[in-house]
Symmetry: C2
Subunit: 169 residues, 2 copies
């Protein structure tokens, strides 16, 4: 075993908010792990930490919605979704909120696209669940370039929190 954790910085990602609502509870968090895994039909996978409130709400909702953040995102916006807990704080109060076709709240602001998915499979990958969703709604929201994870690190000087898939202790 020769694991150089610095090698993990060579993987490229976008930055996303994944959200859901169940039994009146709204939840969302920031992830870098959204991927289109098939095109016919359009299916998207997201990895969410089991300890995140959002993971439980996605399970109960049987659905989730992803917004792809764009380069207009600032640290206040990312912090609202990424560095607070949906347990004690309603992340969807501070910004304009819409409701996707699967019933998730999402913020169109600072997002260049949104994808609403029905949950079709949940895979336990250890500390995280991999949620596989089938898209029923996909919309472009702006012409701004997507916020990449490297832009977040290098330009916005953003940090990776402990519950993230790519956290390095």
């Amino acid at each position: 075993m020769s694991l150089d954790s610095k090698a993990m910085f060579s993987m490229s990602y976008g930055l996303y908010v994944v959200s859901a609502e169940a039994d009146g509870q709204k939840a969302g968090c920031v992830i870098n792990t959204a991927v289109q895994v098939t095109s016919k039909p359009i299916r998207i996978s997201v990895a969410v930490n089991k300890d995140n409130v959002t993971a439980g709400v996605i399970k109960r909702a049987g659905a989730f919605t992803v917004t792809a953040l764009d380069q207009t995102s600032d640290m206040l916006y990312i912090g609202n979704f990424g560095f607070r807990s949906s347990d004690t704080y309603n992340k969807f109060e501070k910004y304009e909120t819409a409701v996707s076709e699967v019933g998730s709240p999402y913020c169109p602001e600072h997002a260049c696209a949104m994808y609403a998915c029905k949950l079709i499979d949940t895979v336990d990958v250890g500390t995280h669940y991999l949620f596989i969703g089938e898209a029923v709604q996909a919309e472009k929201l702006s012409d701004e370039p997507p916020l990449t994870y490297s832009y977040y690190h290098e330009t916005l000087k953003g940090k990776t929190p402990p519950k993230a898939s790519s956290y390095q202790g």
Copy 2:
């Protein structure tokens, strides 16, 4: 259902070669779907089309290796791995080849990092398998910036082949 396929271009990815060897058969293909899904331990998911020779070889090998391509990659290199079939062509003859700790052939050239993984789960997501691997080897191979999928499209003018996760018909 309102699916605007253009919205899918707002997701950000790197570009990778995933490879494996089983029973003397070497196989590899280009993907944009490699993701670090957990950090303790380091686990990586990759989506590979079921029709790709590489998918069958990964299953038989119980292991796979991923290289993160860097910006020195040219269309000849990407074409060697992405637009040929491992069925009729040995993709590991034209370039210098190394063998990872899980026994996969991989090309250090034009790659900024490599990750060798033991296969721990295989998820059927429709046209593709999602292979979940646990990293036993992760190495930086160069200081070149990673090749992003948008750089591939916009600067190298690369196309997305029909078997890719993000193909648009």
